[in-house]
């Protein structure tokens, strides 16, 4: 197997990061996602989440915009078409890796979500 054939060689460094994959996965499930929802779902600090969002936005995988609800600002995140493609490719590569190793894991637990 050459380096190019290996699934790991096809992994995108921007997407292949646990939290950034989480952001894309959540964003792909809704039309828009609130910053606060992502923060509580992924258990990240605002600074950390902002850094990951900046990386994804720079790669044009997500877009974000601010809205005011009364005096309260809200940041909405939306996945782009390129983001959908990148997420699908990453999942396909991961699935390929799992199949090659014939190893299937079960989730330790469902990610915690804040009660609303």
């Amino acid at each position: 197997m050459t380096d190019d054939d290996s699934p790991t060689a096809r992994l995108d460094d921007t997407v292949h990061q646990r939290h950034r994959l989480g952001i894309l996965t959540v964003a792909a499930e809704a039309d828009r996602v609130d910053f606060g929802y992502l923060q509580s779902t992924l258990g990240l600090t605002p600074g950390n989440l902002n850094r990951h969002l900046a990386v994804l936005e720079e790669a044009k995988l997500i877009s974000s915009h601010k809205e005011f609800h009364g005096r309260k600002p809200k940041t909405w995140i939306q996945i782009t078409k390129a983001g959908h493609v990148a997420l699908a490719e990453e999942i396909a590569i991961l699935t390929d890796l799992v199949h090659r190793h014939g190893h299937i894991a079960k989730p330790d637990r469902a990610p915690e979500r804040s009660r609303r």
């Binding site: 959540v26 499930e29 190793h101």
Partner: protein, 237 residues
């Protein structure tokens, strides 16, 4: 990279996806609203009876005084006005509900698809009479007043695609199928046969109210689906 990492990561992402999808599900209100609107239409389908030569099954329809031609596709008369208002109310409630729910949960769903399906269906039902004219199909099928039920089902199917809900997809297909069935066949005949099998005499048959099963069955189905979705939503919280 350890061998179990991709598998674990995939499993975690799948759990995250399921959790987000469940948090976004909010179809119980529009489904319940349309269930109520269908059930509330039942009085419009009661057949007034007169005795014809002593036969209680002889029925006639009462003139409603609302005879606009563009209402024929919606069932005509009072039923047409009712369905016109019901579809508008249902679409407005759905759009408003999802806008509010998105702001509260932080996960928005764009419901332009279902609202467009209800609007286009409504306009098509109101204007088709001017294009199709007096063809047999047009006067038989919409004349029974179940085109709006089909439009409700199509809109709910579009909602099921947005919500990625298999249950709602199946329920909306059932509603559409029922609308086609009651448009082409008198389902109340099945009820008469059932009642007859249980020993109900011809004189005791509910001839005037039996036709309400046409709207009560899908109404009950939608209300049960909404109740189940609401209960599941409560349990998740």
């Amino acid at each position: 990279m350890a061998i179990d990492q991709p598998a674990q990561l995939l499993a975690d992402l799948e759990a995250l996806r399921t959790d987000t999808r469940n948090a976004r599900h909010a179809y119980w209100l529009p489904v319940g609203t349309f269930g109520l609107l269908l059930a509330a239409a039942a009085p419009l389908y009661v057949q007034p009876l007169v005795l014809c030569n002593g036969n209680a099954s002889c029925s006639y329809s009462v003139s409603t005084g609302v005879d606009a031609r563009w209402l024929v596709g919606l069932g005509g008369g009072v039923a047409g006005v009712y369905w016109l208002c019901a579809l508008i109310v249902g679409a407005v409630i759905t759009a408003g509900w999802y806008a509010w729910y998105g702001r509260v949960t932080g996960l928005t769903t764009r419901v332009r698809g279902p609202v467009a399906a209800w609007t286009i269906g409504l306009l098509a039902a109101m204007t088709a009479v001017f294009y199709v004219g007096a063809s047999l199909f047009f006067y038989v099928v919409p004349g029974r007043g179940f085109v709006p039920m089909f439009v409700v089902g199509v809109g709910l199917f579009a909602l099921s695609v947005l919500e990625r809900s298999r249950l709602l997809a199946v329920v909306s297909i059932l509603v559409c199928g029922w609308a086609v069935l009651v448009s082409l066949y008198n389902v109340e005949n099945v009820l008469y046969r059932l009642l007859s099998a249980f020993g109900v005499s011809d004189q005791a048959m509910p001839f005037s109210t039996a036709t309400t099963v046409d709207v009560l069955v899908p109404g009950a189905l939608l209300l049960a689906t909404a109740g189940g979705a609401f209960w599941a939503d409560l349990r998740r919280r």
